[in-house]
Amino acid sequence: MRGPTAKAFKQGFLRSFLLSLKSCRTGDMSLQERKRAVRSSADAAMATARGGGAIWPRALLASSSSSPSSSSWPGLLLNAAKVKTTRCKSTARRCCRPKRSSSEMIARRLVRKRTKILRGMVPGGELLDSVSLLREAMDYVVHLRAQVAVLRRVSNAMHHMAATSYLTGLDLSRLAQGLLHRVCN
C-alpha cells in the first residue's frame, strides 16, 4: 500500500474501530464475550475502511454479522462483482499434456491443494478463480498488516496512559491527544 492510501486506511480503521468499541455495551459481558466483541469490532472496522475495491471486506462483514441476509450474500456478490467461478479440476485435466514428469504432477497437485487452503483463509475466497484469489490474498495481507500495526499502537498508547496515571488530569489529557495523534499518523 502506498503512503497516502495506507495512512487513509489506518485513520479510517481507527475511527471505525473506536466508534464500534464505544457503542459496545460490554458491562454485562463475560471476558470471553468482550474479547470476541473487540475482535469483531476490529474486523468490521478493517472491512469498512477498505471499502468496495475488493471482495474480502464484504465477505468479512457478512461472516461476522448475524443477520439473515448474510446467508444470501454469495448471490449478491456474484451479481455485483461478476466473479468467475472456476472448474479447476476438469479444466486442468483437459489441458494436461499427455507426457508430464511425475514431479511436476505432484507439484501441480500440491498447488491445487494449497490453493484450496488459501481459499479458506481469504474471506470470500471460495467464490473466486485462482487469479482473483491471488489478487485478493495480496490485498487482504496488506490490510491485515495495517490492522496489526494500528492495533499495536493503540494498545501501546493505552498501556502507556495506564502506566502514567499518576500525572495530573491536565497533563494526561494533553498526553492522550498527543498519543492519539501519533497513532493516526
Binding site: 473487540v38 507439484a107 500440491l110 491471488l134 492495533l151 493505552m158 498501556h159 495530573t168 494526561l172
Partner: protein, 91 residues
C-alpha cells in the same frame, strides 16, 4: 492453478507477476534469479504455503492484540484519571 486457459483473459506472465508480487509481501521472501519452468510449480506451491501461514500468523496477532486491548479497557473501567480521559476520547 492451470497454466493454460482456453477462454482466459489472464496470461501466464500476468500470473507469474502476481505470484512474485505476492511473494515479495511475505516475510520469507527469497530472491531467485529467474525461476525455470520446471520448478515454477514447486515455487508456486511453496509461495502458497507461506501465504497461508502468514495470514494465519497475522490473524493470530490481531487476536492477541484484541485480547490485550480487552484487558487494558477492563483496567480502564476503574475510576482513574486515565480511565476518564480514554472514556472521554471514545465518547
Amino acid at each position: 492453478m492451470s497454466g493454460r486457459r482456453s477462454r482466459g483473459s489472464v496470461s501466464e506472465e500476468e500470473i507469474n507477476e502476481l505470484i512474485s508480487k505476492l511473494q515479495s509481501l511475505l516475510p520469507t521472501a527469497r530472491r531467485r534469479g529467474g525461476s525455470s519452468s520446471s520448478s515454477s510449480q514447486a515455487s508456486t506451491a511453496k509461495m502458497l504455503k507461506e501465504t497461508c501461514s502468514y495470514i494465519k500468523t497475522l490473524n493470530r496477532e490481531v487476536e492477541d492484540l484484541s485480547d490485550r486491548l480487552t484487558d487494558l479497557m477492563a483496567t480502564m473501567d476503574q475510576n482513574s484519571p486515565a480511565a476518564e480521559i480514554i472514556r472521554s476520547l471514545l465518547r
